[in-house]
Amino acid sequence: MPSPPPLDKKQHLKYWTRCLKSPLPHQYTGNDSSRLLLAFFMVGGIELLTCPSDLPGSDSPPLPSLITEPDRLALREWVLSLAHPSGAGFAGSPNMLPPPIFKTADDDYDPLTRTTVPNSPESANIAATFFALLILATSSSPSSTPTAFSRLNRRAILKWLKRLQRPDGSFGEIVSPHGIVCGGRDMRYCYLAASIRWILRDPEASPEEDSELDFNVPKLIEYISTSQTFDGGIGESGAHESHAGYAYCAVAALSLLDRPADLASSAKHESHALEKGIQDKEAFVKFCVSRQFAYLDPPSGDEEDEEDDEDGKWGDQDQDNFYLPKKLADLSLDESLTYIAFNGRCNKVADTCYTWWTGGALALLDKLDVLDSSKSATRAFLMDKTQHMVGGFGKFAGSPPDVYHSFLGLAFLATLDRTADDLPHFDEALCVSTATVERIVEARKSMLARGREVNAEKGMSAGLLDLAKLMANREGQLRAEKQQHATT
């Protein structure tokens, strides 16, 4: 069967235009706390589709981005407006931000933990912070990239991140006013923490600065390394059921922990953290490839259940859209491998996003070649089954598109074989284009350079002040001496 034609980027951009321009219906109220996440998928999806082609022989101009220069500035202001008043992290939406009266209130001293807690610290959320940083970088233009991070309180964010780590090495999503780390022990937070650290950490930090700002990296590696499950996968935490999404988070977190700060190319570094953190790599890869299965179309007439269940839902996969043929004789072996789909857990259903979570994890382990032979059937599944006619991808075959699956579908296509769809180089660890990682590196560099300048200025002015004091003292001494002379 012929491979589906390349991605219709124009059609996908149309979908993103709709997302960008019109408010989401009230049914999205449950996503109120994750608006930065939704916003990132929009900005990131548009960026992937409008990057100039670097394929040899392609001379077609890139599609115009839907985000104009004034839009970029306004977007940046909006993102920055979601920063916690103390500078420590970001809130997920304007609704989650502490009211303005907090902006002037002093920090609270918490006698229990003997620390100073910013007012309402629980407003800042680890996921929101990660996506805020990604939006700032993704939406910057060549001229504004150097200042993309200039208004961040880098130190405050890193200090806050440090407070989100538990003694066992894991991370929570928010820190309570009493300094208690909240949120489950969840591999996702480990990933977000490792990403934020990579984006903001000063590679030339002195040991003193690291001890003040950096979290406990060996402890995090240790935490992840004890999380592999009996079937080789990784779950939410500890002994929880293995799950492709959490498995990706673990691998990506590890790979970021010792990634060189200026590594923006798609080249992989040799990650000792990854080596150490995944105890049984072979079993892990087996877990990943076991996520693949031959996807079969539902026999016609049996689709009602599917329709009922999946409308408007995304983010989970518990309904059964897993069609089994009535008679095996109806199938030829050939047909049954036309489409290959991925599930997130053993014996569960196909879902667009698990192609990404699994593919991304394998790519980070440099094992993507295990998907080589199933590449075209997997791509066919996305293109023919979950791609929607209005653009974007849905969760299941035939589902309406949503921003989450639309972005992750693109992410997977860019990871699997970007040339087939003329997509840009993709960074599997940070889940953005390589171009955006370059922006992050540049923005970080100039942020750090400015920080050093300010420190130097402070240092200089302090030196001048000392000198002035010294001179004043000396003058006073001289005057006193003179007076003494005069009196004697």
């Binding site: 997302c19 960008l20 989401l24 219906p25 109220t29 449950g30 996503n31 608006r35 939704l38 977007l75 202001e77 909006w78 993102v79 304007p94 009211p99 009266i101 907090f102 407003s123 928010i174 909240c182 489950g184 004890t226 592999q228 009996f230 079937d231 080789g232 935490s237 500890g238 929880h240 105890q279 049984d280 790599k281 072979e282 087996k286 490839v289 076991s290 693949q292 299965f293 031959a294 079969l296 989970d316 518990d318 089994l324 043929p325 009535k326 095996l328 004789a329 072996l333 491998l337 857990r345 053993c346 014996n347 569960k348 094992k367 070649d369 295990v370 998907l371 032979s373 199933s374 075209s376």
Partner: protein
């Protein structure tokens, strides 16, 4: 002016009787709409206005008319502004002239041309439906005016209520009856405001209990993305929440507010924490809170925060269980804990009845087992077995079984904890045996189901047993490998055989097994058909080019354990251009009875 009140009706009467015939048409006397009535009144009050504009200004009027018009304008201004005191004589003359001309003393101010669209005298505004209030019939207008009066009245009563409240020193000291009355008034007020102006008064704004809170509205920046068309209720509740959170108020009304918001947005990460702090400071019993949570959980099956809240609650309240002989209370030593555990498990069963693979529920269940020490609770193992009996492919249940068996402190090293994929010398041999037996039985029910195969593999590794011990068991599912009558009922069995043979150093057999997997058996996995319904899970598995390469030259033995050795599959036909062997005899055999489906059907 003293004569004002007397003069006016008289003058009006005169006007009606014909000093201005042009405005005396009957439709204007009985106006159909408010606009018509206004126009009529205007003309009556300004008898010379239309003539003046007809003749092109004051200059066009006759001298008498001009004098009247001037006097009228003058006297109106004079009496309105109570300015320009005139000498007695002048005053008398003025009034005389006015009386003689018979024009009305009172009336709408004369307009310099008609200012409003549609030649209207006055703009009455629009009602909530956008209709011009001027187009109301006098009847409708009267009704509306009644409602507006009622609004004013209710507002006055409301202010009295507030004054009373201040006087007695707060809501708590007010009579319930007073508060109820105010509530009823506000309901009426909200209804009237809606009817009159289309203004929605939120539930909280209507409630006297919330009067002291100044809601903090959300500010949506200009460049905002992913805006959500929040419902009015959500927006209002959020604005009150932000206000009370800022005040750090912990009160029953705030608890109700968090409930309201959680029902609309259960993923709101700060409201849960706020709720938790209210519960702790109000000392609300865990039972009540858990009962409430149960309801919310059933309504929001996929929510994550709910389960974290439940954990926080338990963390907070667990220390209240009395320690037994200095040991922490567990289900083994405390009836109280056991009872609580069973009630929790009862609820979790309800949740899993809805979705037996709900990740958050299983995560919480593991937490509960650890926290309350439910390792030896027969109900716990029993439940997992029931679930596996119901659906042998329920991987969540298999995963939980591994957890209760192998994370049990009695069976597992704790310092340091040994990863699940590694041998733990603390696992008792009989436990390993028991679990191997269980997995085998379940495999026999459904040989192509990967869950028990994974489990078996996990048990072997954990218990330090060799895979080769499984050779005989696996051979049940693999017949005449490499021969024409080759029959394989489980690709997982073949996979394990390859490993077992490799372990034994039987390289050629291991190679053959891997080759056959790659060529055929792991290209597609299938169950068997039964009762008109067929089960098929078909991992296309892994087909690395590295593997296919390794199939051609003899592969070094050590590769068998490397990842590459596992990569089996379809790419051979794909990359080498061999047609897939769809019609292969043994392939069709394999599609015939295996026990897969019986198992999947739950016996």
């Amino acid at each position: 002016m003293p004569s004002k009140s007397k003069g006016a009706p008289k003058a009006k009467e005169q006007a009606n009787t014909g000093s201005n015939p042009s405005s005396a048409n009957p439709s204007n006397i009985n106006p159909k709409t408010i606009n018509e009535r206004s126009a009529y009144r205007y003309e009556v009050g300004n008898p010379l206005a239309s003539k003046k504009s007809e003749v092109g200004g004051v200059q066009g009027l006759s001298p008498t008319e001009r004098a009247t018009w001037t006097n009228l304008t003058y006297v109106r201004k004079a009496q309105d502004q109570k300015r320009l005191p005139l000498p007695n004589k002048a005053n008398k003359d003025l009034w005389k002239s006015i009386n003689e001309s018979g024009v009305p003393l009172r009336g709408l101010d004369e307009l310099e041309g008609l200012k409003f669209p549609g030649n209207k005298i006055y703009d009455w505004g629009r009602d909530r439906a956008g209709r011009d209030i001027g187009e109301y019939t006098p009847e409708q207008f009267k009704k509306r005016r009644g409602k507006r009066l009622r609004v004013t009245q209710l507002e006055v009563l409301g202010r009295q209520f507030q004054a009373l409240r201040r006087k007695v020193g707060g809501l708590a000291t007010l009579e319930d009856e007073e508060i109820d009355k105010e509530r009823i008034r506000r309901e009426e007020l909200a209804k009237l405001r809606m009817e009159l102006y289309g203004e929605k008064t939120g539930t909280y704004a209507q409630d006297p209990e919330w009067d002291d809170i100044e809601p903090v509205a959300q500010v949506e920046g200009e460049g905002a993305l992913a805006s959500i068309a929040y419902s009015d209720d959500y927006a209002e509740a959020m604005s009150y929440l932000r206000a009370v959170m800022a005040k750090k108020e912990h009160s029953p009304r705030c608890l109700r507010l968090t409930e309201n918001i959680i029902l609309m947005n259960p993923a709101h990460y700060t409201v849960w924490l706020y709720r938790f702090s209210i519960i702790s400071s109000l000392n609300i019993s865990i039972k009540n809170e858990i009962e409430w949570l149960n309801k919310v959980s059933l309504a929001h099956l996929k929510n994550y925060q709910i389960w974290h809240h439940r954990q926080l609650l338990l963390d907070h309240f667990y220390p209240l269980f009395d320690p037994v002989d200095g040991q922490p209370a567990t289900a083994d030593n405390s009836e109280e804990v056991k009872e609580f555990a069973l009630s929790e498990m009862g609820f979790l069963k309800k949740m899993l009845d809805e979705d037996a693979k709900n990740y958050h529920v299983w995560s919480y269940r593991q937490y509960l087992v650890r926290k309350l020490g439910l390792w030896n609770l027969s109900e716990e193992i029993g439940y997992v077995e029931t679930l596996i009996l119901e659906d042998v492919r329920n991987n969540s249940a298999w995963s939980h079984r591994f957890f209760i068996v192998f994370s049990n402190p009695a069976h597992a090293s704790s310092n340091p904890e040994i990863p699940a994929t590694k041998f733990d010398p603390k696992v008792p041999a009989d436990v390993t045996e028991r679990e191997v037996g269980y997995a085998k039985r379940k495999i026999e029910e459904a040989p192509q189901n990967q869950s028990p195969w994974n489990y078996l593999k996990g048990v072997l590794a954990r218990g330090g047993k060799k895979v080769e011990e499984m050779e005989e068991f696996c051979l049940q599912f693999v017949n005449k490998l490499g021969e024409a009558e080759e029959e394989v009922t489980s690709s997982h069995a073949l996979d394990m055989l390859a490993e077992a043979w490799a372990e034994k150093g039987e390289k050629e057999k291991a190679d053959l097994a891997l080759r056959r997997l790659a060529e055929k058996w792991d290209r597609i996995r299938e169950g068997k058909e039964k009762g008109g319904h067929a089960a098929l899970i078909a991992p296309a598995h892994s087909y690395s080019s590295a593997t296919s390469r390794s199939f051609h030259p003899p592969r070094p033995q050590k590769n068998l354990h490397s990842f590459g050795a596992r990569r089996e599959g379809r790419n051979r036909s794909k990359t080498d251009g061999y047609p897939p062997r769809a019609g292969d005899e043994s392939a069709s055999k394999a599609r015939k009875p295996g026990a897969e489906h019986e198992g999947a059907q739950g016996e």
